[in-house]
């Protein structure tokens, strides 16, 4: 190893370290999508906390968004499956309140391409 080699090594090591965050943004959750009967009725960015109420088939459901996650906080459905599912954090995660025709899903940056397999 010559002195310049150390400089080059250090430079590339820093560049590699600087690239490391790229590995984690790919699947980053970006927004919560609320649908009724499959139709998008609200898109909420996962950057700020919000609470919205949406009208479902049975009544009002409450969607709660916090930075990086979202959940269905309340729903008039009889079995409460979607509420008990809790916070959704991963892209393509979905909570479905079938009785009230409401669904909440998390969309990542590249919703239409979620796989790199070829």
């Amino acid at each position: 190893m010559k002195p310049g080699d150390w400089v080059v090594l250090l430079g590339f090591a820093l560049a590699t370290a600087a690239l490391a965050p790229v590995a984690f943004i790919g699947g980053a959750a970006e927004k919560a999508v609320v649908r009724r009967d499959g139709v998008v009725i609200a898109e909420l960015p996962l950057t700020q906390a919000r609470r919205i109420e949406v009208q479902g088939a049975l009544g009002v459901s409450v969607i709660e968004v916090q930075p990086g996650r979202a959940r269905i906080a309340a729903d008039p459905g009889p079995r409460q499956y979607c509420v008990r599912q809790g916070w959704l954090t991963q892209p393509n995660a979905i909570a479905i309140c079938a009785p009230s025709h409401i669904s909440l899903s998390i969309a990542g940056r590249a919703a239409s391409h979620d796989s790199l397999s070829y």
Binding site: M1, K2, P3, G4, D5, V8, L9, F12, A13, A15, T16, L19, A20, P21, V22, A23, I25, G26, A110, H113, L116, Y118
Partner: protein
């Protein structure tokens, strides 16, 4: 014998040819051996054959390094059964990019920069060339670039290892 014209054509290998063939054979053997090693991510390989390229570059210059490297890509892919498959074009793109980078890197002052620098520069040029070809042709989506950190890490580790190996070889076996 060329029966049609009745003339015989003889090809006399020059010293250059012999030398290049010898080094290319060593590089091909390394790339075939390396194909047997299972690796976690497609496209991530140690690139042991680049040790040969670096040694040839240091001893005989850039022209010979280009020959050895390209012969290795073509003949190696024939042996592995990858010739003209996507992997072959990725190898070729990587090899061309790193040869271009080596052509520039060899002009760095030899007092301060050795084979390790050249190896690292070539390794990063290699992944850059591959990523560009892959993005333009194989995976036309920016999602590909999410893999960049893994390729960069591999280039850093294997570039360093190959460079150290080449430096060791050049040091221990100086040509007469």
């Amino acid at each position: 014998m060329n029966r049609m014209s009745g003339q015989s054509i003889e090809l006399t290998p020059t010293g250059d040819d012999d030398r290049i063939a010898r080094y290319a054979a060593a590089a091909i053997a390394l790339s075939v051996a390396e194909a047997a090693i299972p690796l976690p991510l497609p496209g991530v390989k140690p690139g042991l054959a680049n040790i040969i390229t670096l040694v040839v570059l240091a001893r005989y210059g850039w022209r010979d390094a280009v020959w050895v490297s390209l012969l290795r890509v073509v003949a190696g892919s024939l042996l592995i059964g990858q010739f003209l498959a996507p992997g072959f074009f990725l190898s070729l793109a990587g090899a061309l990019a790193s040869l271009a980078a080596l052509g520039l890197a060899m002009h760095l002052p030899a007092r301060a920069f050795g084979p390790v620098s050249q190896s690292l520069i070539a390794a990063f040029a290699h992944i850059a060339g591959q990523l560009i070809v892959a993005r333009l042709w194989l995976v036309p989506h920016d999602g590909l670039f999410y893999l960049t950190p893994f390729f960069a890490l591999a280039a850093l580790l294997f570039g360093l290892a190959n460079g150290l190996a080449a430096a060791k070889l050049l040091e221990s076996a100086k040509p007469a």
